[in-house]
């Protein structure tokens, strides 16, 4: 009973803050900009190719990938990526599947697949970093902890509230990306086929033996589900930093630096395989669905899931240990 009230309090506080409203505003603005840019890019490409026929465009992309594959300067990971593109393209041509079919659901899919490594986690960090540290720096933690409610309960209510807020954020992303991009591309395309079952290893071999298609709405459910899981993991990590650090700004800074460092690691240090145990390297879970090669050798879907899960669990344990024991000094 009291616990439910605590959660309601936390959610209400966050929704009343400018922070959450600003995040939503930025999100809407970005959706509009991305939709516009994508629309423009498609138009330009059609003009360059002289036709809007997707067969031509896809064939063009395959040829380009094949040419680039000859370059001796490519790393194994880049080669694998190109291989995957070629194989996918050929499969799509053979089965008459248009990968460029426009529509709001297609935009949602691209946005989530691309955004989950950096953009969406950034939003999550902005919200989660604030959960505990703002009470510490604002002094309001003293009120929360002197009301005869146990510290573990107070912290747990914040964690549950955070899960709800992350769910709200993802719903906002889903709804706004659909509504806003639909203005540019139309609202059709829920049933378009999406390829699944490509298996690309980091060394560059592509297995097309088990390829099948699912309707786009189903794929979207999966990718948003996985996105939610990834966001929760990021949220737990930020939550821990937020309990350890007094200032919201520094807790946000720490998490953002870690996130960006992780993204850089995946592109720069492909030979340092121990990096695969870092949470920020494992964020692109949906990559395992659509057949992109893993960022580092030895990574599989279940491996990434486990890494994220363990980090999140550790973060929660540390948060609780520290929060229930710490002395709230001035």
């Amino acid at each position: 009973m009291i616990f439910a009230h605590l959660i309601a309090n936390e959610v209400m506080k966050m929704l009343r803050k400018r922070r959450f409203q600003v995040v939503l505003l930025i999100l809407f603005a970005l959706m509009a900009v991305f939709s516009y840019a994508e629309k423009q890019a498609a138009n330009t490409l059609a003009r360059q190719l002289g036709t809007a026929d997707w067969h031509v465009r896809l064939q063009h992309q395959i040829t380009e990938a094949t040419n680039r594959l000859r370059s001796p300067l490519l790393s194994a990971a880049e080669k694998a990526g190109l291989q995957a593109t070629i194989q996918e393209g050929q499969y799509e041509l053979a089965h008459d599947i248009n990968p460029y079919a426009p529509g709001a659901p297609s935009f949602m899919k691209t946005f989530m697949d691309e955004g989950i490594t950096l953009l969406v986690p950034l939003f999550v960090i902005v919200i989660a970093s604030d959960m505990v540290s703002s009470e510490l720096s604002g002094g309001t933690i003293k009120m929360l902890l002197t009301r005869g409610v146990s510290r573990a309960k107070v912290l747990a209510s914040k964690l549950v509230a955070l899960v709800l807020l992350v769910a709200l954020l993802l719903s906002a992303i889903a709804v706004s990306s659909y509504l806003i991009s639909g203005l540019f591309f139309g609202y059709q395309g829920w049933g378009l086929p999406v390829l699944m079952g490509f298996h690309t290893t980091a060394s560059g071999t592509v297995d097309v033996g088990h390829v099948y298609t699912v309707p786009q709405w189903k794929y979207l459910c999966m990718t948003f589900g996985l996105g939610f899981f990834v966001c929760l993991c990021i949220a737990c990590l930020s939550f821990m930093v937020s309990t350890l650090v007094q200032s919201t700004a520094s807790s946000m800074g720490i998490m953002m630096a870690a996130l960006i460092a992780g993204t850089l690691l995946t592109t720069l240090a492909t030979s340092w395989t121990a990096a695969k145990y870092l949470p920020v390297v494992n964020l692109q879970l949906s990559g395992y669905l659509n057949g992109s090669p893993p960022p580092l050798a030895g990574m599989t879907f279940s491996f990434s899931l486990c890494v994220l899960l363990i980090w999140a669990a550790l973060a929660i344990v540390v948060s609780f240990l520290v929060f229930t024991r710490r002395d709230i000094m001035g």
Binding site: M1, I2, H5, L6, A8, N9, M12, K13, R16, K17, R18, G138, G139, T140, I141, K142, M143, L144, L145, T146, R147, G148, V149, S150, R325, D327, I328, M329, G330
Partner: protein
Amino acid sequence: MMVGEPVLSVTGLQKRVRGRLIVKDVSFEVGEGEIFGFLGPNGAGKTTTIRMLVGLIRPTAGIIRISGHNLQSNPQEALRQVGCIVENPDLYPYLTGYENLYQLAWMQGPHAVARIAEVAERVRLSDRLHDKVRTYSLGMRQRLGIAQALLGNPRLLILDEPTNGLDPAGIHELRAFLRTLAAQGLSIFISSHLLAEMELLCDRVAIIRDGRVIRTGDIRTLVAEASTDVIWRVEPLDVAWPILCRHATDGRLTRVEGGVRCTMSDEQVSAATLELAERGCKLFEVARQRASLEDVFLQTTGGGLA
């Protein structure tokens, strides 16, 4: 003075931070309906002690009991008896006054929610209750903080330097308000380094210095003990001077405006008066200088008031 069990009892409290003892030995009791002052210079360990009283800091040693509940072993039950403001009123500036109260009341259950209107009325915030706290003056924030503290219907109110930043009118108002609360049976524990304030407000005080309680007692007794100086208006002075010198505790007299001053006990005063009369001196006035709490403080702490 105390009837039954004390509302707050503290025994042998200690706090060590990074190997340094900040609070060395603090013990006292606060009875029902009593206003208890906790006095000491800045840095004496007042705030650390208060934070231990409300469970924000874990004591290294010692026992805190609130209404008989041990704070260490039963913190929830103990803290339900307490309302507090530690340092500043802790408010969310982006919420309205009502929402701030509602947040806390909601934490404590329906009985606290039912008290919101009553408590707001008591601190006279009803008309501004639906404005954002960001727009409140310091005095209003202080009142809202007290309203928060009273929501849970506590038996003990703990206030840390509550007069900080208030103007004289605000201080006067706060004092009257606290007196009313105490008259209704609420115990109030109040820390301050402003002695004049405490003298007007408290029934009893504890004086803390360097992490130790060095005096505890009824404020009138403490002040009376410190009131050792007597001023004499007597003529002729050249006859009276040696007599007074003989009877004074330290054998010394000083000229002050309107007479001479010396340190004497009540017995010494009556003996000196008799002798002055025998020698034909005209005695116009004998006045004991009433010491302030500040004098008590300076005597017991040996100065160094920050």
